[in-house]
C-alpha cells in the first residue's frame, strides 16, 4: 500500500506520542521520588534524596520487599519445574486430551484475576487451610506455570530433533543427551521463563489480595495500603520506583534471552 510521505510522518508522530504517554506516568513517579515537595503536584520541584533515605530506614517497605522477593522466588521456582515438565510433555508427545491440558494451563491467567483469586480462596477455605505464605506461593505458582510453559515450549518446537537423534546414535543415553545437548540449548529459554514468572509474581496484587494471609503485605499491597495516606506519599513514590525497576530488569533480560518477542499470550 502506498503511504504518502505526509501520512508516514503523521503515523511516526502518533507512534512517538503513544510511547511518551506510555512511559510518562512511570517516569513521573520515579521523578517524584526525588521531589522536594510532599505532594504530587505538577511541576515537580527541586531534587532530594531524603525520601530514598527515609524509605531505606523504614521497616514497612523493607519487610514488604523481602516478602515479595521470597514469594516471587518460591513461586517462580515451582513454576519453572512444572512449566518445563508440561512443555516437554505437550511438545514431545501426542496424546488424547493434549489440547485440554494446554487450555488448563492458560486458564489461571485467561480468567480475570479476581476469579482466580476468589476461587483459590474458597478452595483453601473449603479444605480448611489458613492463608499464609504457603497459600500465596501456591496461587502465584499456579498462574506462573503458563509463562514458563510458553517460553520453554516455543524453544522446544524450534529445536531440531536431529540433534538429539544424533546424540543417541553416537551412544549417549537419554540422560546424557539431555545433559549435553538438550539442556544447554534450552538454558536461556528456561531462564527467560523463570525471570518473567518472577516479574509477574513480584508485580501481582489481585490474586494476592485473596490468597495472602492477613498481615502478610507484599510490596504492591504496601503501596496500595499507603497511597491514600497523604503523609506517606513520598515513601510510596520511592517504593513504586523500586517495584518498577525490580520488575523491568528481569523482563528486559528475558526479552534479550527469548527467541522472539515475549508476546501478549505470555499473560
Amino acid at each position: 500500500m502506498y503511504v504518502s510521505r505526509r501520512a508516514r510522518y503523521l503515523l511516526g508522530a502518533f507512534m512517538a506520542l503513544v510511547l511518551v504517554v506510555m512511559y510518562f506516568p512511570i517516569l513521573y513517579v520515579a521523578r517524584l521520588s526525588f521531589n522536594k515537595a510532599r505532594s504530587f503536584a505538577w511541576p515537580p520541584q527541586g531534587f532530594t534524596l531524603e525520601w530514598w533515605r527515609a524509605a531505606y530506614h523504614a521497616s514497612g517497605p523493607r519487610e514488604a520487599l523481602l516478602r515479595s522477593v521470597e514469594t516471587a522466588l518460591l513461586a517462580s521456582a515451582i513454576a519453572l519445574l512444572l512449566g518445563t515438565l508440561a512443555a516437554f510433555a505437550l511438545t514431545r508427545h501426542r496424546f488424547f486430551g493434549r489440547n485440554a491440558v494446554g487450555f488448563l494451563a492458560v486458564l489461571p491467567i485467561a480468567l480475570p484475576g479476581i476469579v482466580t483469586g476468589i476461587a483459590l480462596n474458597s478452595g483453601y477455605h473449603r479444605v480448611g487451610i489458613t492463608l499464609s505464605l504457603f497459600t500465596l506461593v501456591v496461587a502465584h505458582a499456579t498462574f506462573c506455570i503458563v509463562i514458563v510453559y510458553n517460553n520453554v515450549a516455543a524453544r522446544l518446537r524450534r529445536l531440531s530433533p536431529n540433534l538429539e537423534e544424533a546424540s543417541s546414535d553416537l551412544g549417549a543415553d537419554m540422560f546424557q543427551t539431555f545433559g549435553y545437548i538438550t539442556f544447554p540449548l534450552m538454558r536461556s529459554a528456561l531462564l527467560a521463563g523463570a525471570l518473567l514468572a518472577f516479574a509477574l509474581s513480584f508485580d501481582e496484587i489481585v490474586v494476592t489480595t485473596f490468597t495472602a494471609g492477613s498481615g502478610f503485605e507484599t510490596l504492591p499491597l504496601w503501596i496500595f495500603n499507603n497511597m491514600f495516606r497523604p503523609n506517606n506519599l513520598p515513601l510510596v513514590n520511592v517504593v513504586a520506583t523500586v517495584v518498577i525497576v525490580l520488575s523491568i530488569i528481569p523482563v528486559y533480560i528475558a526479552q534479550r534471552l527469548s527467541d522472539g518477542a515475549i508476546g501478549a499470550s505470555g499473560r
Binding site: 502506498y2 512511570i26 515438565l85 476468589i118 476461587a119 474458597s122 477455605h125 508485580d203 517495584v243 520488575s247
Partner: protein, 292 residues
C-alpha cells in the same frame, strides 16, 4: 562402566522403550497441580456460591445455610444495584476495548509496515515491556496525574476528568494498550506487502485499502487483542478504587462482599466467567483463539 552408569543406562533404556511411561512422568506433577489447586478451587467456588446466609427468626444472627440453592444467583439477577454495576462494567470493558483498538491500529501499522527492521525490534520491546511491570504503580501514577488539585491533567491541559468512571476507563485503556498492539502487530507483520501493493495497483487509495483489505484480514488479531482488554477490564477492581472515586465495578462488589458474604461474592464472580466464556465462544468462529 561404573555401577551407577550401568543403572542409569538401564533406566534410560526402560524409559526409551516406554513413551507412555515417559509421558506419565512428565505430565503427572503439572497436571495434578493444576487439577487440584485450580480446577479444585473453581469447583469449590461454584459449590460455595450455592450456599447462602439466612437471618434467623430473632433477626440478629446470620446463619450459613449449606443446602444448595440458587438464592445468591436470584439476588444477583433481581437486585437493581448489581445489574447496574454489571452493565456499567461491561460498558467500561467495551469502551476500553474500542479506545485501545483506535490507538493500537496506527501504532501497530507503523511498527509493522513503516519502521525499518532495527527500529521495529526496539519498538516491539518498548511496547511489550510495560505489559509486565507496574500494574499498581501505573494506577498510582494515574491517580497523581488525574488529581483535580495540581495533577498533570489539571495543570497542563487545564482540565482533569477527575476521579470517576471516565478516569477509570482512561487508566484501564492505558494499562491494557500493549495487549491490543501486540496481536495486531503480529497480524500485520504476517500480512504480505504484495497484497497491499495489488490493492494499490488496482487503484485503491490508502484509506480504501485499509478498510477493504487490511481490516478484514486483521479480524482474528483484533478479536484476540479484544479478549485481553475485555477480560482484564471485566475483572478489575483496583483501578476503580484508585482512580474511580465512588465508581463501583463488578470486581468492587466481589471484593467488598468477599469478607462479609463469601457465597454471594462467589455467585457474583461467576458473572465474569459466564460473560468471558460467551465471548470466547463467539470469538472462536473468527479463528481468534489460535492467535492467543
Amino acid at each position: 562402566m561404573s555401577e551407577r552408569g550401568g543403572l542409569r543406562r538401564r533406566v534410560s533404556r526402560a524409559l526409551y522403550q516406554r513413551p507412555r511411561l515417559r509421558l506419565a512422568l512428565l505430565l503427572a506433577l503439572p497436571l495434578l497441580w493444576l487439577l487440584i489447586a485450580y480446577i479444585g478451587s473453581l469447583v469449590a467456588l461454584f459449590l460455595t456460591s450455592l450456599y447462602h446466609y439466612e437471618t434467623d427468626p430473632t433477626g440478629l444472627v446470620q446463619k450459613l445455610v449449606t443446602t444448595p440453592s440458587t438464592t445468591n444467583f436470584h439476588r444477583v439477577l433481581t437486585t437493581d444495584v448489581y445489574r447496574t454495576v454489571a452493565f456499567r462494567t461491561i460498558g467500561a470493558a467495551v469502551s476500553v476495548t474500542l479506545i485501545d483498538l483506535v490507538v493500537a491500529l496506527p501504532v501497530a501499522f507503523y511498527m509493522a509496515k513503516i519502521a525499518g527492521p532495527g527500529l521495529r525490534r526496539a519498538l516491539v520491546i518498548a511496547v511489550t515491556m510495560p505489559l509486565w511491570a507496574g500494574y499498581l504503580v501505573k494506577g498510582y501514577a494515574w491517580r497523581s496525574m488525574l488529581d483535580p488539585a495540581g495533577g498533570v491533567f489539571h495543570e497542563v491541559f487545564g482540565h482533569s476528568p477527575g476521579f470517576g468512571l471516565t478516569g477509570t476507563i482512561l487508566t484501564l485503556a492505558y494499562l491494557w494498550l500493549p495487549f491490543m498492539v501486540i496481536p495486531i502487530y503480529v497480524g500485520l507483520e504476517r500480512l504480505p506487502d504484495s497484497l497491499l501493493e495489488a490493492s494499490t495497483d488496482l487503484g485503491a487509495k490508502a484509506g480504501r485499502t485499509f478498510m477493504r483489505v487490511v481490516l478484514p484480514l486483521l479480524r482474528p488479531s483484533i478479536v484476540a487483542g479484544s479478549i485481553f482488554t475485555f477480560a482484564l477490564t471485566l475483572g478489575d477492581f483496583y483501578m476503580a478504587q484508585i482512580v474511580g472515586g465512588t465508581t463501583q465495578f463488578l470486581g468492587s462488589i466481589v471484593y467488598r462482599e468477599f469478607s462479609a458474604n463469601l457465597p454471594f461474592a462467589a455467585a457474583y464472580a461467576t458473572l465474569p466467567i459466564v460473560i468471558m466464556l460467551a465471548y470466547l465462544f463467539a470469538a472462536r468462529s473468527s479463528g481468534a483463539l489460535e492467535e492467543l
